[in-house]
Amino acid sequence: MTMNKPIRTISIFCLLLFLALMVNATYLQYQAAGDLNDDPRNRRVIDAAYSRERGAILVGRDSVAVSEPVDDQFEFLRTYPQPFKYAPLTGFFAYSYGASGIERTQNDVLSGEDSRLFVTKLVDLVSNDESEGGNVQLTIDPAAQDAAYAGLSALGRGTQGSVVALQPSSGKVLAMVSLPTYDPNNLASHDFSEVSDTWDRLSDDPAQPLLNRAIQTTLPPGSTFKVVTAAAAIDAGLYTADDLVPGGATYQLPLTSDDTGLIDNEGRPCGTDRIPFTQAMEQSCNTTFAALAGEVGAERMLETAEAFGFNSDYLEDLRPQAESVYPGKLDAAQLGQTGIGQYEVRATPLQMAMVVAGIANGGVVMRPYLVDEVQSADYEVLDKTEPTELSQAVQPQTADEVTELMVATVENGTASPAAIQGVEVAGKTGTAQSGDPDRPPYAWFVSFAPDEDIAVAVVIENAEISRSEIAGGALGGPIAKAVMEAVIRQ
């Protein structure tokens, strides 16, 4: 029949057109969909994430972040029942400003996308439900967190500082407090203009309330670093805790000849030529530890510091994290200064807690972690974090001897404010110049209880207290004591 051949050709042509459309639609909605959904301009994905019922962040038996149903387009409002105390941990969950803290690092679990929730997810897919988010159980001990927050807050308005408590045997973070803090409820709000104002105010605040000082600021550790120096010296076999170490009222750093290279002990009794190691630690003798660093040598000092976690990144559950620093190339004078936690040595409060936790744990430094369990929406445990060893920083014998020195420091020396009736406590104070003459020095305090499973670091950067009171363990000691007691008395 005439014209039938071209009509058949046209049929095939039309078939090809439709095939092309179907193949292209399949490509778009299947292959390319992932990339399109990941595009930051895709508000659908953001809206959906924002309106999903997220899992809770749990501390003990309480939720510190929970999605409450509300009657608006987003259906759920992220709510933080103890906002200020836990903000540095939970972080915030905001519509336009993303998320931080656990809200960010555990987003896959909380939003229900994590593969560990897959069994539940498959059921949800079949029943066509929105997948429910899983819960995240933190390692935090609520009593320790309360003690740390109460102790630091008691220093008054304007206090800048942080407290970290670790369980030395596992690396669990038992408390982490940072001041000043903020209310994440104001950032999670559905009133976006209010959120925007809050965000601008928090971002512009010179005190940086959004900063988690426990892990995101590094400060000169000052005398608390002497714990590392002592450990390096003993581990190198140079001394035991019962030996005599170099003492004296002043120490001229190698390669120097004037006052700038002259180290003294700010009036603390450090003998003349040689003094007992315990006395050097009790009195926090700068002259001793500057000399010890020189004797240990730059290479071994660096090795020991890095074994404790300096110059590396180890906390996976909170991001970003500042790396603590022990400098590389050092001349003899700089080496002496690092022995007392000066020159370019910088540490986060978490790092110094890890140093004492390592000593408390027989020289083994455990990797710190915050997420204890991942749970389904029905609180069924899907995954529990196994503690992992970060390194064997020093020999067990070394750890024991350093412990002996630090116990003496609490019993007879500068760290006495941390003493607890009936419990053996090891501690060390530290004071570090802030470099700004208008600012008070940073007050450090690290301690642990050798017969218990707790190590604490406290840093006070700024408080409305006179300069003289900052020195020593007067500020940090009682806070560390309160945190340790909270854990021990349970």
Partner: protein, 471 residues
């Protein structure tokens, strides 16, 4: 006579299959009314209060169409009406869903337009008992089509919507005359080509195994080419331009059976498009052409610009978000796509009904094209064959251009999605197209009366006479 021989040789008589049509219509209504109920449940959490009234109205319309077919086109293809009813019903539900998000009331208007469309569908079938009558209006149709295409350029009557001058406004009503023009053009082309196909089929020079047409026969194709370019340049309407020229090429090829026309026409089309793009890039005139191409190549780069790719990218985001199964009615954000109820309705369907829904819609469209081409194949007269092929082609091309544009297969050009998109002119014109295809298929499938059989009805008798006259 060819048709008679075929019938005799094959001994095959088509059955009416009206019962099958009714059964399929029930399924189609289940799609339309079910989708409407699902929208209510998904968006508002309850079955719409007007479900009975709405469903009754929809059912009344399609059943009325079915009854009329039983009486005036009993042998018509039984699949077309149910497929069209399903698409129209789904379109209404999706527009209703967007209404709920935007606070508009377009679905109600669309239902009115559908009513008018079904009325014209019925009217066409009742009045036009034999499509060959239309050969008398070959030149009238052609002139009317050109007049309609020019209407939007009349000052005071034409309206520019989103850059395209393809609308006319009369009082509160807007109308896209191009939609009606495309039906008239198919009639005009079919009438013209069935008369001149022999002359046009004469081979000219042979180049690379292809017989090129004679130079003197290039007149009509040249005229059509210029009209298409004129629409592109003056009315800024890429889609219609491509549609009309593609339609003409397909019909010319089918009429002459000379692939050479496709070669010449294709070269003219791509040459013309390339030339316009070149002019657009070098002179800055016709910037919309360059824009469309740039956006097609990299839509993400123009997301925040104006004119930019926001609409296209939102639609792509929506379809990606829909994935394989879709979010479900009320669970997506199709209202994020500007004009989702018209050109971008496929984006809304992709988001809430997923790839599954999109493929289903494409299959329904494919089915319409396939049934129309089948009618063309079995039609016993040249005019019917050409008209059915032309209607199938215009449908296939329109779906390809708009769905391909929305899914970024080809540069985006503005055309409505047949039977789904909101828009009265398009809906009414498409219902008439289906009526014409049904008329061709009815005559094609009707048993040929045996010679000397006095019991044959008047229409069949008239048909025999006319076939003799035309062949």
């Amino acid at each position: 006579m060819a048709a008679g021989q075929q019938g005799a040789i094959m001994g095959f008589v088509h059955r009416r299959r009206r019962g099958a049509e009714l059964f399929l219509l029930v399924l189609a209504l289940a799609v339309g009314i079910g989708a409407y109920a699902a929208v209510g449940l998904g968006v508002e959490g309850e079955v719409p209060v007007d479900l009975l009234g709405y469903g009754g109205w929809l059912a009344g319309l399609v059943v009325a169409a079915h009854v009329v077919i039983r009486f005036v086109a009993p042998y018509a293809d039984p699949v077309l009406l149910p497929v069209v009813a399903a698409l129209n019903g789904l379109g209404l539900a999706v527009i209703h869903r967007l209404d709920l998000a935007d606070g508009s009331a377009l679905a109600r208007q669309q239902l009115t337009w559908m009513t008018l469309g079904v009325l014209l569908f019925v009217g066409t079938l009742v009045v036009l008992r034999d499509h060959r009558v239309l050969t008398r209006f070959t030149y009238t149709s052609g002139l009317a089509a050109i007049a309609l295409l020019l209407l939007p350029m009349v000052p005071g009557l034409g309206k520019t919507v989103n850059g395209a001058k393809i609308w006319i406004g009369v009082g509160p009503f807007s109308f896209q005359p191009g939609e009606v023009a495309k039906v008239l053009l198919v009639v005009a082309f079919a009438g013209y080509l069935v008369l001149h196909r022999d002359a046009l089929a004469l081979a000219g020079r042979r180049v690379l195994f292809v017989d090129l047409p004679r130079g003197r026969d290039l007149g009509p194709i040249l005229a059509m080419w210029l009209i298409s370019l004129g629409i592109l340049v003056l009315q800024r309407d890429l889609g219609s331009s491509l549609l009309f020229f593609g339609l003409f090429l397909v019909m010319l090829y089918v009429a002459t059976e000379r692939p050479g026309w496709l070669v010449v026409g294709g070269a003219m089309f791509f040459g013309g498009a390339g030339l316009l793009y070149y002019v657009s890039v070098t002179t800055g005139q016709l910037s919309h052409i360059q824009n469309r191409v740039n956006i097609w190549l990299d839509p993400m780069a123009y997301f925040d610009q104006s004119p930019g790719s926001g609409q296209l990218v939102e639609s792509l985001f929506g379809m990606a978000w829909g994935g394989l199964l879709g979010r479900g009615f009320g669970e997506g954000n199709p209202e994020r796509i500007p004009y989702a109820e018209s050109d971008f309705i496929i984006g809304a369907i992709g988001e809430e009904l997923g790839l599954t829904g999109v493929i289903a819609v494409l299959l329904l469209y494919g089915l319409i094209v396939e049934r129309a081409l089948r009618a063309a194949l079995i039609s016993r007269d040249g005019f019917g064959k050409l008209m059915a092929t032309g209607l199938a082609a215009v449908f296939a091309l329109q779906v390809f251009v708009v769905v391909g544009g929305v899914t970024r297969l080809i540069p985006l050009t503005g055309l409505t999605t047949p039977f789904l998109s909101y828009g009265g002119s398009s809906l009414v014109a498409n219902w008439v197209i289906v009526a014409l295809v049904l008329r061709v298929s009815d005559l094609a499938r009707r048993p040929v009366p045996s010679v000397g059989d006095d019991a044959t009805d008047v229409a069949a008798d008239a048909e025999t006479t006319q076939v003799v006259r035309l062949s």
